[in-house]
Amino acid sequence: MAPSALMPANGPPCGRFDLVSFARRHGGVTKYALGRGSRLFAQGELANEMFYLDQGQIQLSVISVQGRRAIVGILTAGDFCGETCLAGEPKQLATATCIADSVVARIAQPIVTRAIQQDPGFAEFCVTYFLNRSARLTERLISQFFDSSESRLARILLQLSNHGSERGPTVIRNLDQEALAQLIGTSRSRTNYFMNKFRELGHIRYDGYNYVVVHDSMSQVVSHQNRFAAPDGPNDRPDRRATS
């Protein structure tokens, strides 16, 4: 497998996981195909396996006590899920459902733990990979605190289409407006309103469930209301004018 460099200067944040050489080296990998709509694991189930998504798309969703539904994340080929077993958490936090035909590799938790102990390259890869996942979650959380639903939608569309990442922009597939609404915590009707607005402004092209193409111009929607401010940084200080 290609060991990733921790925080390389310009390169990708983490290399791709090589399933074949992992299986050869550590064993215990079961690879299988799953159809769209099939479920990998459910919220509250025992967490004792990790999954690697070789092909396809997976949605992680939760239902609250009050019956509200939210989508925690959308995983694409090259992503891991079920990692909560590494933290010693006994239960799955979310339900993982395939939203496209997928090929998944199941790795039992003891195998992953042993591989981390024996293979420094794999350990480093995991640290980098999960730190970057946390960074994406932090970004969404901050967006949830500060942004209007319009900019949250713009941000999630940019994130889902891999804008600004080394993978290069891709087309968003298999996500309807209901799913987009559950990703940003708003209603479907508001999502619809903003999707139409973005389309009219030429930021996206879309055809319902089938695809959403996000154009570069979408980043203007979020960049011109850049939310970050250094509390005591130079940007925030009022211009100092000569008093004389």
Binding site: Q66, L93, T113, L131, N132, A135, L141, F146, F228, A230
Partner: protein
């Protein structure tokens, strides 16, 4: 399946067994211990992230400020956790400002030492990875709460968490806990709502006997386990509706 347990709201998990800074320093160097008084800032948002920190004693909150002048608290941590992990990601500046909520003792670990340890010591890499994964789960919990809870539910979760009652509530053996050093403004920044709405819900919780406080900003708040059953429990159903005020529509209000 319905979720009835409490998910942690950005509360960073403590390492078990605790990280040993001295042993780490002997092997990899680049460790310095420091004291920080209550209210002091350890690093600021947008500063260059060049080191990792580990909190040995005390409590720290992570604050984020927006250009529009809004403030939010995205995490709070107890002794036994790492923070400042931005230095190891492709993002090279701090997400947040780390402020001590009480007098604290922490260690600063240079990035080069931590990278050396992850590469050279599979045991340390395993321990650190476990922390990263549970940190990610805490972030997911926070995000889930933002996406699915109303302000009253989120406030209740935060009160239970600050009073360290979550685990005991799940076991069904909690009675009461107390919170010091968090005024309604800070609670509002953790919930992601206004101070006046926090005040509204706090008064309602108090009237119903779920919390006790005297209304002074710095006074301690006593939280009773009945709050969990009333606002977040499996059977709360209609009860939860009592805590919804006019601003809370069917989906989360836009802020």
């Amino acid at each position: 399946m319905r979720r009835s347990d409490l998910h942690s709201l950005g509360r960073m998990p403590a390492l078990q067994p605790p990280f040993q800074p001295q042993a780490f320093a002997d092997l990899y160097g680049g460790v310095s211990r420091y004291r920080a008084a209550c209210g002091s800032t350890i690093y600021r948002q947008e500063e260059a992230a060049d080191c990792l920190h580990y909190l040995e004693q005390g409590r720290i909150v992570l604050k984020v400020a927006s250009r529009q002048g809004k403030d939010a608290i995205i995490g709070e941590l107890d002794a036994g956790t790492f923070f400042g992990e931005e230095c190891l990601t492709s993002r090279t500046v701090r997400w947040s400002t780390a402020v001590c909520a009480v007098d604290s003792v922490a260690v600063r670990i240079e990035k080069a030492s931590i990278v050396r340890a992850i590469r050279g010591d599979p045991h340390f890499a395993g321990v650190y990875l476990r922390w990263i994964v549970s940190h990610g789960d805490a972030l997911k919990g926070s995000l889930i709460s933002q996406l699915t809870d109303g302000s009253a539910q989120r406030l209740a979760r935060i009160l239970l968490q600050l009073a360290r009652l979550e685990a005991a509530c799940l076991e069904g053996e909690a009675v009461a806990g107390s919170i010091k050093g968090f005024d309604q403004e800070a609670l509002a920044q953790m919930v992601g709502t206004t101070r006046s709405r926090v005040n509204f819900f706090m008064n309602r919780f108090r009237d119903l006997g779920h919390i006790r406080y005297d209304g002074h900003c710095d006074g301690a708040i006593t939280v009773l386990d009945s709050l969990w059953k009333a606002v977040l429990g499996q059977d709360c159903g209609d009860a939860a509706a009592n805590f919804r005020d006019a601003d809370d529509d069917e989906v989360l209000p836009d802020r």
